[in-house]
């Protein structure tokens, strides 16, 4: 019973998003452009011999980016949405409704996010395929990779919700998002796999939650090792649990501090 209402929220969100399909496509064109730039960049780095760099072929390197870009960019502006609702006090409209605010946001934004993920990944794949070539992926491993991507999107969502709520104290939502995005770009390993980093930085980045949004799932995708699967999925779940606890606590504190005037 409780779950059905969240499923309904997701459905409504998908119907709403369908109206903006063209907008989604247009946004993902930009991702296609970035993939194109990186194909040029990696082509020069790999040179004509096109060997291995840290265990990655050039195709693995580019398809890695296709997946990380799709994961990182598809949730859109959740952080700013929540930040604005908190700053303007509009969040109050949700407080007396028969649902959990974060649960509601999750249901409505995940539906949109998954749709946008499919489109962005599609456009990115097309660019990678046309300008570079394909990638060998075993069919059997796909369900596991999809689970990891889903967990990555959930973790990404939770961190943005947390930062969105923190806007109550941090003031500027777009500035907060800007910096979080750049952390995921570099420390999360969105732009390039962590193996390219100096060892000390690689170790730090691999342990931080941001790499479970981009690096770890993308590595499973381009270089699937059964020995890594359980560790990646369990660590993703662990970070999700930790974030749920932190979000719940911070949300309660924030709600207590919000003062409402009139209706």
């Amino acid at each position: 019973m409780t779950l059905t209402k969240y499923i309904e929220i997701s459905k409504i969100s998908v119907y709403n998003s369908l109206a903006y399909l063209l907008d989604f496509f247009s946004g993902s064109l930009f991702i296609g452009l970035i993939i194109f730039v990186f194909i040029q960049l990696w082509n020069v780095v790999y040179g004509p011999s096109a060997g291995l760099i840290e265990g990655y072929t050039i195709n693995m390197m580019v398809w890695y980016l296709v997946l990380t870009e799709a994961i990182v960019t598809s949730p859109g502006k959740i952080l700013e949405e929540i930040g604005d609702e908190i700053k303007t006090g509009n969040i109050a409209q949700n407080l007396n409704k028969p649902y959990n605010y974060v649960g509601f946001k999750y249901a409505s934004s995940m539906a949109r996010t998954l749709l946008r993920f499919l489109i962005t990944f599609g456009v990115g794949s097309l660019v990678a395929y046309v300008f570079l070539g394909g990638l060998e992926v075993k069919f059997l491993t796909l369900p596991i990779i999809l689970v990891s991507v889903f967990l990555a999107l959930t973790l990404h969502f939770l961190i943005m919700v947390l930062l969105g709520i923190l806007v109550f104290w941090l003031e500027d939502a777009s500035a907060t998002y800007f910096i979080y995005q750049k952390i995921v770009f570099v420390l999360g390993g969105m732009l390039m796999p962590l193996e390219i980093f100096p060892t000390w930085l690689e170790k730090i980045s691999a342990a931080l939650p941001f790499s479970y949004i981009a690096y770890h799932p993308a590595k499973l995708f381009v270089n699937f090792q059964w020995s890594n699967v359980s560790e990646v999925l369990l660590k993703q779940l662990m970070w999700i649990m930790i974030m749920i606890v932190i979000v719940t606590i911070v949300y309660q504190i924030c709600i207590r501090k919000i003062s409402l005037n009139g209706g």
Binding site: I34, L41, F197, P198
Partner: protein, 265 residues
């Protein structure tokens, strides 16, 4: 518009807008400082990315990390100037679509110039600061005058390109997303070493999406000055300025006013 366009008058108007913008920055100090610092951090993270990258690969087609520092000096400084003084450079499609152009049409100043200067982006102040920091790290004293001249040329190209992308709204109606993508495309291309692009991609970046003239060519000129490429850059910026003014004028003829009777005070 029958009113004679005088350069002095327009510069005076620009100064007035700068004064207003400064006054409001001082009024909302925290916000202004936060956004400036955020942009500096943002740019720093990109430079860290390139430091990591070149730490691993040393050079790509002759480009080193020092060249990337120079590239970021030129790119952030010129984008920053464009944002601080001509803040509406990437908002023209919105202004047109929302019918806000009416306000400018009723005044005796050049419409395009007035639209461009009537907003100032505080995030861009961070870009200006970062560009100067990168400049201090990279340039010898004799490179500074050239750096300022080249940045002004880059800035003109950026503003003209933003104007052209935004003017799409005159011809297609809802062009906000497309114009944003075009503008972001120019930014993105200009933050990567020009040396990685070959063939058709390179030709495009030196013509219709002139990112090469925004950053790559200025870096080459700062390293080894070459009169031919300097003149080509100058011609490129003049051509883009001219085309953007013409296209905007043509667009204005097609513009159907909204009935947005707002008075700005």
């Amino acid at each position: 518009m029958g009113v004679k366009i005088s350069l002095k008058n327009h510069l005076k108007l620009l100064m007035e807008y700068v004064k207003i913008s400064l006054a409001s920055a001082m009024e909302y100090k925290t916000s202004f400082i936060t956004q400036t610092i955020t942009m500096v951090i943002n740019d720093t993270v990109w430079i860290i990315f390139w430091i990591i990258f070149f730490n691993k690969f040393n050079q790509i087609n002759g480009w080193t990390v020092q060249d990337m520092f120079m590239l970021y000096a030129v790119v952030t400084f010129s984008y920053g100037l464009a944002g601080v003084f001509f803040g509406n450079r990437n908002k023209i499609a919105e202004v047109i679509a929302e019918g806000k152009l009416d306000f400018y049409l009723s005044l005796p100043k050049n419409e395009l110039f007035h639209v461009l200067i009537s907003r100032s982006s505080w995030f861009s102040m961070g870009d200006v600061v970062f560009g100067l920091i990168m400049g201090i790290i990279s340039f010898s004293w004799w490179q500074w005058p050239l750096f300022f001249v080249l940045s002004l040329m880059s800035m003109s190209i950026i503003i003209s390109f933003g104007t052209l992308a935004g003017s799409l709204a005159f011809f297609m109606g809802n062009a906000e997303e497309s114009s944003r993508n075009l503008y972001m495309g120019l930014i993105s291309f200009s933050t990567y070493p020009l040396a990685v692009f070959h063939g058709a991609a390179r030709i495009i970046l030196l013509t219709i999406i002139p990112a090469g003239f925004v950053s790559g060519i200025p870096v080459e000129l700062l390293k080894n000055f070459n009169l031919k490429w300097f003149l080509l850059s100058l011609i490129c910026s003049l051509v883009f300025i001219t085309i953007s003014i013409i296209v905007f004028k043509l667009g204005l003829r097609r513009y159907e006013s909204g009935n947005n009777m707002n008075v700005r005070v």
